[in-house]
Symmetry: C2
Subunit: 271 residues, 2 copies
């Protein structure tokens, strides 16, 4: 079962959209993907802060009250243990024809879809030839222009579960759908925000939980070699939380348990 | 007046689209923007070759016969001297939820809109802080994931007509909507295809016309300094053909006439 909400109302089937909507024609919009457990939307405030910052930087109209109302309306329809709430906001239509210009009639779309309640036990990575561009909004912000991530995931699909993307200077950035962490002794290391990464909501939660777990959070540049000297490497995102990485390009990485981090994340959600 | 064709038929008003269509949700599709003069579609074959190559690389279904039929149907409706035909092809819907996977029910959208028949006399450029990523499909192929170009255009909008985008090593790549050429003596110089640029159709036409105009075509890495020692700099794209650049970051560039190139392009269209 899937639920759709579009510009103010729950609807069934297709949506009706202006053929000039810039979300459709130019990937010109922002989105969030949010975990819903029962009828509870996990970390909605944090997702909306990030979405608002992105919309404002890009000059896209952002109506927080409308988004909150839609999210509440959609999540109330959830009949599954665990679902994904996807919020999509487009710039709308720009006239006259130009890349710049103010959008009118932005479209706000929300869909709620069941996801598997069981977390994946682990995942493998392979390094993509497609780099993340640390100068680009599409690497830092959660925009609809997702093609480079799609192409990177497609590139490695025969040999790994997700692609490891480096940035333009060859440092570790993230995967196509999540941030990366390294556990090394008592250090919990993750690429810093200047490395061409999205400021993940789960990434932020893990950093804020670190000291309570006896770990020292460290945001810095990470080299590929660092992955192989770590005690554990894991990916995180809003739907799949923390997932251990077992291999990078078929080379084994450390397998220390991250159960304490996963448990603290789950506890943080339900409190 | 604007004409819309969607999945096989001319329509009025909004289009009806699956809320999970990946063109809308992830900028996952390809497009072409083509000049239409009267009912003549300019360089349609070249545009379709490029679109097919992009779709195939990205694993998006491409039905050339359907696209040709749609383009003919739309262009027959043109009532203006000069119009822009925009062809948008999305991946469609992918299930189960994953970045990879085969798309079903791709959406094919075409719109025809009047554009000003008068070419702009010249334009100014300002250098964007947003670089073009020469490792990324979104820089090489005409995909719907256009956000970085939009952001670059927005960044310079108060001080120039278009943004000059460098690549990640600081070489000249292109503008947000066109390729760049430099005229220097009898050399006609343009960034090579490995510089993070789109293989522009008009760029290709100009390169093929060069020798007939007594010019030596040269595809190479171009430095910012080279712009200021050139006799002329111009931008080209499918709708606006060749437009002289007068300034880069408020600094004057050479103003030798490019009238011979513009005339040869126009002649190539009508022959």
């Amino acid at each position: 079962m899937s639920v759709t909400w579009f510009n103010g109302a729950l609807i069934e089937g297709a949506i009706s959209i202006d053929p000039a909507d810039r979300g459709l024609t130019l990937g010109d919009g922002v989105f969030e993907t949010i975990l819903v457990r029962g009828s509870k939307i996990i970390w909605l405030d944090e997702h909306l802060v990030r979405m608002k910052v992105a919309a404002q930087e890009l000059g896209i109209e952002f109506d927080e009250a409308q988004i909150r109302a839609g999210a509440a309306s959609v999540s109330a329809e959830n009949r599954h243990e665990v679902s994904a709430l996807r919020i999509t906001l487009t710039r709308g239509v720009v006239t006259p024809r130009a890349l710049t210009g103010h959008g009118v009639l932005p479209n706000l779309l929300m869909t709620l879809s069941e996801i598997n309640a069981a977390q994946p036990a682990s995942l493998t990575l392979a390094i993509s030839t497609i780099r993340r561009n640390e100068t680009a909004p599409s690497s830092r912000l959660k925009t609809l222009s997702y093609m480079d991530n799609i192409a990177a995931a497609r590139e490695v699909t025969a040999r790994a579960d997700d692609a490891l993307m480096l940035n333009t200077v060859g440092h570790v950035a993230s995967t196509t759908i999540g941030n990366l962490f390294l556990l090394k002794g008592s250090n919990l290391i993750t690429p810093s925000l200047d490395q061409g990464i999205l400021a993940g909501i789960t990434r932020g939660k893990i950093l804020s939980l670190a000291r309570g777990l006896g770990l020292t959070p460290l945001e810095t540049a990470v080299r590929v070699d660092d992955l192989f000297s770590a005690d554990a490497v894991f990916r995180c995102n809003s739907l799949r939380l923390a997932t251990p990485v077992t291999k990078v390009d078929d080379r084994l990485v450390g397998r220390q348990s991250i159960e304490n981090i996963s448990s603290a994340l789950l506890k943080g959600m339900t409190s």
